[in-house]
């Protein structure tokens, strides 16, 4: 994209693959993660996730040292696997690679295969996942992991009435809400992954090392027998799509729908669910839609006054875009640190529909985002808390959503999907603008008329 400076990334708008891989694994029941590499990767990712979710996030490392870079790390990895099993008793271990392991050419898949011959490991799923930090962002790491899990686990089974639901990285609150909706329709579902409890666990007297919740491996194994797969997200690269894999290999019909953010996006999802279940849309959901509609009409008089810039993971960006456009909020920018070739065409579709011209930046950094928003009229920023520097420097208020949110509490509890979540996020966006307007109104008026 319009990058004058192409070699120096200033304030990255992305993380590395293992981060996404860990997030995905945390949604699998009884799981642990080992990152094959030096300790730092695990430690950094633990730190970042714990700060956002306010939960323990345990990630083991094979703790490779200089010696390991010379003689290979299989011994370390082996030890790590046995130790993790001894102390955590997981039913599945995701083994991700890091830059180090990949650079020295570690063949984790082979190592794991060899280990599987040990009868004592029979009841444990060891899933190797290739996640070199230099080959993609957390977005790719996440789907890479999901696909690897499905490939490893899914087996030919009898047909069931279940619906596979594959979700991008959302908040635990979002996943809880989605499950509730599925339950209201009486749909039997397999949600992959399910971080609703694992990364937002209720306070109990008893602390569990591996939190309860998450998608059971036995459920994933049954995915090939499902009635259909519903993959939420339209920017997932084909080669990373677990839904596509299930379709190609097992013939499970694949439906894709956009993230249910905004009224139309949610309508699509709800209609699909109605069709799957053969039921009428539950009364409560209709009411939620009505309430969202009501709120949209309530706030339209403010919404068309201001404009916004959105950044983050492509799927979420699209979702937020939808909400803004449906409500007449002027959009200036949709940006992502991922390469995501699918974002631009998706945005163009929306542009046409809403007659709103906006710029799209992929593979970008915050330096360029900042330059852009400073150079045009933007009232509100929407994205994760890394935009706080722009907020500070340019004085543009930031609505925090997505991952990570490090400077506010409760990122794991933010609900922003479906009618209910859309309503909350929309209110938040509108109110952010209103509060900004109120607090700067006099000053601006003064400048306009008396200066």
């Amino acid at each position: 994209m319009d990058r004058n400076y192409v070699n120096l990334t200033v304030n990255p708008c992305k993380m590395c693959m293992p981060m996404g891989m860990v997030a995905a694994l945390k949604g699998i029941s009884g799981s642990m993660v080992i990152l094959h590499g030096s300790q730092g990767c695990s430690t950094y990712i633990r730190r970042h996730m714990a700060t956002h979710y306010n939960e323990p996030v345990d990630i083991a490392s094979s703790s490779l040292t200089e010696q390991g870079t010379v003689f290979g790390g299989s011994e370390n990895l082996k030890k790590a696997i046995y130790n993790v099993i001894g102390l955590y008793e997981p039913s599945v271990i995701g083994i991700g690679t890091t830059c180090l392991a990949e650079t020295i050419g570690e063949d984790t898949a082979r190592m794991v295969k060899e280990m599987k011959t040990d009868p004592s490991l029979k009841s444990i799923s060891l899933i190797p996942i290739s996640t070199p930090g230099y080959a993609g962002t957390q977005f790719e790491g996440y789907f890479n992991a999901l696909k690897a899990i499905v490939e490893d686990t899914a087996v030919i089974t009898g047909k069931s009435r279940a619906l596979n639901v594959i979700v991008p990285l959302l908040s635990p609150a979002d996943i809880r809400h989605l499950k509730l909706i599925l339950e209201m329709f009486g749909i039997e579902y397999i949600m992959l992954p399910d971080i609703s409890d694992t990364l937002d666990a209720p306070y109990t007297r008893e602390y569990k090392r591996i939190p309860k919740g998450g998608t059971a491996l036995s459920s994933i194994a049954r995915m090939p027998g499902a009635m259909a797969t519903l993959e939420i997200g339209t920017t997932i690269p084909e080669k990373l799509s677990p839904g596509k894999f299930l379709k190609d290999k097992f013939g499970v019909p694949l439906y894709r729908c956009p993230l249910p953010m905004g009224i139309e996006g949610t309508d699509t999802l709800i209609s699909l669910l109605a069709e799957f279940s053969g039921r009428k849309v539950p009364h409560m959901i209709t009411e939620q839609r009505g309430r969202l509609m009501d709120s949209m009409i309530d706030s339209h008089k403010y919404n068309s006054e201001f404009s916004a810039a959105v950044y983050g993971e492509p799927e979420l960006v699209l979702g937020i875009l939808n909400i803004c456009l449906e409500n007449g909020i002027g959009l200036r920018l949709a940006a992502t640190g991922c390469k995501s070739p699918l974002l631009k065409p998706a945005v163009e579709n929306l542009e046409e529909k809403f007659k709103n011209n906006l710029s799209v930046m992929t593979d970008t950094d915050f330096e360029k985002i900042q330059k852009f928003v400073a150079g045009c009229h933007v009232d509100v920023l929407i994205g994760n808390s890394d935009g706080k520097w722009i907020e500070e420097k340019e004085g543009i208020p930031l609505v925090r959503i997505g991952f990570p949110i490090h400077d506010r509490i409760g990122g794991q509890r933010l609900l922003s999907i479906c009618y209910e979540g859309t309503m909350r996020l929309l209110d938040e966006i509108t109110n952010t603008y209103l509060s900004f307007k109120e607090s700067t109104y006099r000053k601006r008026m003064y400048q306009k008329y008396f200066n």
Partner: protein
């Protein structure tokens, strides 16, 4: 009761080899033993969730990162760089004409093709771009895991850029896999700063008592509070390494009259090298805790030995202490008798014990994440520490007396005399000061954290964000001593007051009362009976 048995029970679940290894990293303080040895600075066991970071974290994240007027370029894939972006709360402010790049995160964001074909060209161009956009006086390049392995010669690139742009460009080969923890990175950063920066400045006119503060990273403004008090007494601070520090000031570090060392682990190499090269002595200080702060301030004055300085020191102590005395008494009355675990860093686990003790809180378990044996047992054990393969890979920089700047400030006799009363060029470690029966654990991991909490039921747990929530989920109040949970400063007298207040808040938050729902404890009807009277 705490004792060897506690250790055994905590280690119980380990397989034999792990048991043996981890056992050597623990001990129960026994004052009747003349020496007690603990294993430290050795490899963590794979798969055991340690809190340690990597070499890169220690080099770029800890020591170099806080230098505010420097553009710190991370050469490598984007992750490592991103993860060190503004995460340490090392605060900085800039004065006029000063540059501050601390809010930025710079990376070469290596891609697959760079790994295959080499990333030198990208790095070269990235430096060029950094110079064009930010025009800094100095640039550091820190290597992450793949760099050394693919054979990028970052030192050559740095040298070339230095010639081309006429600014300081330094390369640090701090690949994540080097050493066994952040500690290796501290050492590499120390070497680099000593080689390239310290001693290159011409200085300015300093007051009578110019000093450096080493190993203070200004977390939550700690360094500012230290500087405020020291300046009030009459010291002139040449540079702080490295919290709110700058390349511009660091260049003049050789011109100070004394080096104060706060965090011994991360910076003792520089302290020693400066002593050898320029003759400046170093004094171990601790500005966390009232008693240690008073002692440290007195020691500094004693070093310079000037009567007026000594009396001014007393005066400032009275004044500063007076301001918080009542407050501290109050909090002490509320916190007295509690017990704590403290597991952090390479010096803080020691420093904070004093502050806790001042508040009547007993540290029943303590340990370092990346300390060495000397941080536990005192510098006298350094000659006995066997260098293993991991340590040998880190360069031991040899320095010689500087022809121009080496000074002898004190007669050897006087120096020896002074050493008897103040810790000059010496750190005694944490162990000596711990109470009989307290437990020391090096490189405490997730499993042991849980086991020890279960066994010893402390009232508070001091550590970092990675293990904070484990403790909290177990019902034990937890406070981060890496980032202070967005509070601070905790240093000197005022800081002690803020710390005490934070603990009080954490211990007494009404939230803890509601952990058990009423229907789990007995009849609930009385609470809902209408009319205000209880049944």
């Amino acid at each position: 009761m705490r004792g060897e048995n506690t250790l055994k029970r905590a280690l119980d679940k380990y397989p034999a080899r792990v048991y043996k290894n981890r056992k050597s990293h623990m001990l129960v303080k026994d004052s009747s033993c003349k020496t007690q040895e603990i294993a430290a600075n050795t490899r963590s066991i794979p798969g055991i969730i340690s809190n340690r970071g990597c070499c890169f974290a220690g080099c770029k994240g800890v020591v170099l990162g806080p230098l505010k007027d420097v553009v710190h370029i991370v050469h490598g894939p984007v992750g490592c760089s991103y993860y060190t972006w503004g995460t340490r709360r090392n605060k900085a402010r800039k004065s006029i004409n000063e540059k501050n790049f601390l809010q930025y995160c710079f990376s070469t964001d290596m891609q697959e093709s760079d790994i295959v074909f080499g990333g030198e060209k990208k790095l070269r161009n990235a430096i060029k771009e950094a110079v064009e956009i930010f025009s800094p006086e100095a640039i550091t390049i820190s290597a992450t895991c793949p760099v050394g392995l693919i054979g990028d010669d970052i030192h050559a690139v740095a040298a070339e850029a230095e010639r081309e742009y006429g600014i300081k460009v330094m390369a640090f080969s701090c690949e994540g896999y080097k050493g066994v923890s952040q500690s290796a990175g501290h050492h590499i950063a120390n070497n680099g700063l000593m080689k390239n920066v310290i001693g290159t400045g011409k200085g300015k006119k300093y007051g009578s008592y110019p000093i450096n503060i080493l190993g203070e990273y200004n977390i939550g403004g700690d360094g500012w509070e230290i500087s405020r008090v020291l300046e009030k007494i009459g010291y002139d601070i040449v540079t702080i390494m490295t919290g709110d520090g700058s390349y511009a000031e660091l260049k003049n570090a050789h011109l100070a009259g004394l080096n104060l060392v706060q965090c011994h682990r991360s910076i003792n190499y520089i302290a020693e090298m400066i002593e050898k090269k320029y003759g400046t002595h170093w004094l171990k200080v601790n500005f966390l805790g009232i008693s240690s702060t008073i002692q440290s301030l007195k020691n500094i004055a004693l070093y310079f030995g000037d009567e007026s300085l000594i009396s001014k020191t007393e005066e400032v102590i009275q004044e500063e202490y007076g301001m918080v005395k009542d407050q501290l008494e109050y909090y002490k009355s509320r916190l007295q008798g509690r017990t704590a675990f403290i597991f952090v860093g390479g010096s803080r686990a020691h420093h904070y014990q004093v502050l806790l003790n001042d508040l009547g809180i007993e540290s029943i378990l303590a340990g370092y994440e990346f300390g060495h044996r000397d941080d536990y047992e005192g510098r006298e054990v350094i000659p006995d520490i066997k260098a293993d393969a991991d340590t040998k890979n880190i360069e031991e920089l040899k320095v010689e007396k500087d022809k121009k700047y080496f000074r002898v400030t004190m007669s050897p006799e006087k120096l020896e005399e002074l050493k008897k009363t103040i810790p000059l060029s010496y750190y005694g470690g944490m162990l000596k000061e711990m109470a009989q029966g307290s437990i020391v654990v090096d490189d405490l991991n997730h499993h042991e954290t849980e086991e020890f909490i279960r066994l010893l039921k402390p009232d508070m747990f001091f550590s970092g964000i990675k293990d904070k929530y484990i403790s909290q989920k177990m019902g034990v109040y937890s406070k981060q001593l890496h980032s202070y949970d967005y509070s601070g400063p905790y240093t000197m007298f005022k800081g002690a007051g803020i710390f005490a207040k934070d603990l009080d808040m954490g211990m007494y938050t009404p939230a803890w009362r509601f952990v058990t729902p009423p229907w789990k404890t007995g009849p609930i009807l009385e609470a809902v009976l209408f009319g205000g009277e209880k049944a």
